[in-house]
């Protein structure tokens, strides 16, 4: 970036731009970072702003100009500030300095603000130029406050510069030592578990009460022989069986009923889903008809 190098050659743009290029108390000119940032700018990683004698962006420049009004930032004349800025930018352009875009954007915006401020009040749109000016002023105040705070912070007695810590501290050392704790029961229990875990296992299949299909077939055919009426399938179950056996009997009886129906010896009926399943012996005649 050409500006940086030209400035280094003593091409002091600020010299007459504002007539008061002397650095403010908070910003000594020899601030070491200027070098750093110039290098940064050369490296191109900071292309977004361009340094003009150490200003960082338009707001920074504006703040510096505002300070030259030598009044409280709350009292500054925005119009005067705008003029100073625009003059500054014009000069830079006359000198064919390459200005970063945001300086020009700010210049355009300030030019607009200036004209709006000068127009009769009732022709203003929203937001009013006064409001825009106020916002700018507030921003400058905030930046100014932080700049002063930074300066006061840096001026404190700092460790390593004004204040020193002990040069050769012995250092504290804590050696950690683990005391392991356990007890006999844990040992015994752990051993039991190892044994239990690794012991060969024997699996038992428990003997559950079942009614086989054969016995169900016998049972159902025998009971069907007694009557011609419909009977619920539940009536075929052994009356006092334990629940497990009942379940098995129900399943077997159902299969037996299907088998009998297939053989044409019984018919099955159900009025609807989940309704009781009924079964009765098929009359001989019907049976023969079916067979035929």
């Amino acid at each position: 970036m050409s500006v940086a190098s030209e400035n280094e050659d003593g091409f002091m743009l600020t010299g007459d731009a504002a007539g008061a290029a002397e650095p403010t108390a908070e910003m000594p000119q020899g601030w070491p970072e200027d070098e750093v940032r110039k290098q940064g700018a050369k490296a191109g990683d900071e292309a977004l702003y361009l340094e003009l004698d150490g200003w960082e962006g338009p707001l920074d420049l504006l703040l510096d100009l505002a300070r030259r009004q030598k009044v409280d930032l709350r009292q500054i004349s925005i119009l005067a500030l705008v003029d100073q800025y625009l003059t500054y930018i014009e000069r830079a352009q006359d000198l064919r300095l390459e200005l970063a875009a945001d300086y020009l954007v700010m210049a355009a915006w300030l030019a607009y603000l200036k004209s709006a401020l000068l127009l009769p009040k009732d022709e203003q749109e929203d937001p009013s130029p006064e409001e825009l000016a106020l916002r700018l002023q507030l921003r400058l105040q905030r930046l100014g406050a932080m700049r002063e705070a930074a300066a006061r912070l840096m001026a404190r007695d700092r460790i390593g510069r004004d204040i020193f810590l002990r040069g050769a501290p012995e250092g504290l050392r804590t050696d950690r030592k683990t005391l392991w704790r356990s007890d006999a029961y844990s040992i015994i229990q752990a051993y039991g578990q190892v044994k239990a875990r690794t012991a060969p296992r024997i699996y038992h299949v428990s003997n559950r009460p079942v009614m086989t299909l054969d016995s169900a077939l016998d049972r159902v055919s025998a009971m069907l022989g007694v009557t011609l009426e419909w009977m619920e399938i539940r009536d075929f179950l052994p009356p006092h069986a334990e629940p497990a056996l009942r379940k098995s009997a129900l399943a077997s009886s159902f299969v037996a009923a299907l088998e009998l129906a297939r053989l044409g010896r019984a018919e099955i009926d159900q009025e609807g889903a989940f309704a009781p399943l009924r079964i009765r012996r098929l009359k001989e005649a019907v049976r023969q008809a079916v067979e035929a």
């Binding site: 990683d45 962006g57 406050a145 930074a150 390593g160 510069r161 810590l165």
Partner: protein, 210 residues
Amino acid sequence: MTDDTAPDELERGLEATLFASDEPLTVEQLSAHLGDLEKSSIREGLAALQEHYAKRGVHLVERGKRWHFETAADMAHLLRREKEQVRRLSRAATEVLAIIAYHEPVSRAEIESIRGVQTSSGTLDVLMEAGWIKLAGRREVPGRPVIYATTNDFLDHFGLESRRDLPGIDELKAAGLLDPVDEAFEEAMGAQDCEADEDASEDAEEDAES
């Protein structure tokens, strides 16, 4: 020839421990180190020691709840010439540091809205490397930006007992200068009707958003 009352064992222990330690110590650490003493007696001992050293060439100070010995500020002229160990910060870095310290926790966008320029990532890196700022989570707004805050080392380095001791922070707060522009703007517009600048916001909110 000073003629002191002999310090008690607790004071001697604290003195020895703090002298020997290569980092500042909290009351808790001191207590643990001295055999789990009551924190209240540790605090008493520290206060006594602090008083003892107040007039000496070395002071006992508390920074961010941690204690250490350091040379008295008025001895700087003796020590400075040979021992300048402080890295010099760029102006951008000092500004960013101040903004973080006075506004913390604060996002990069918030820093930039105050400074009016982009912050190079190098600037934040330098401050992180110096151990003065740290990531302090994310702000729960769209984009969940990372937010920054200062560290105990920051307090140490600048001789601050806590953030409350930041130079001028009370005045800045009272003047509303730590409030975001939008807030201050509303304030100012509201105040204009009644009458000029009543001393603006009292309870300055720090949850800035530009």
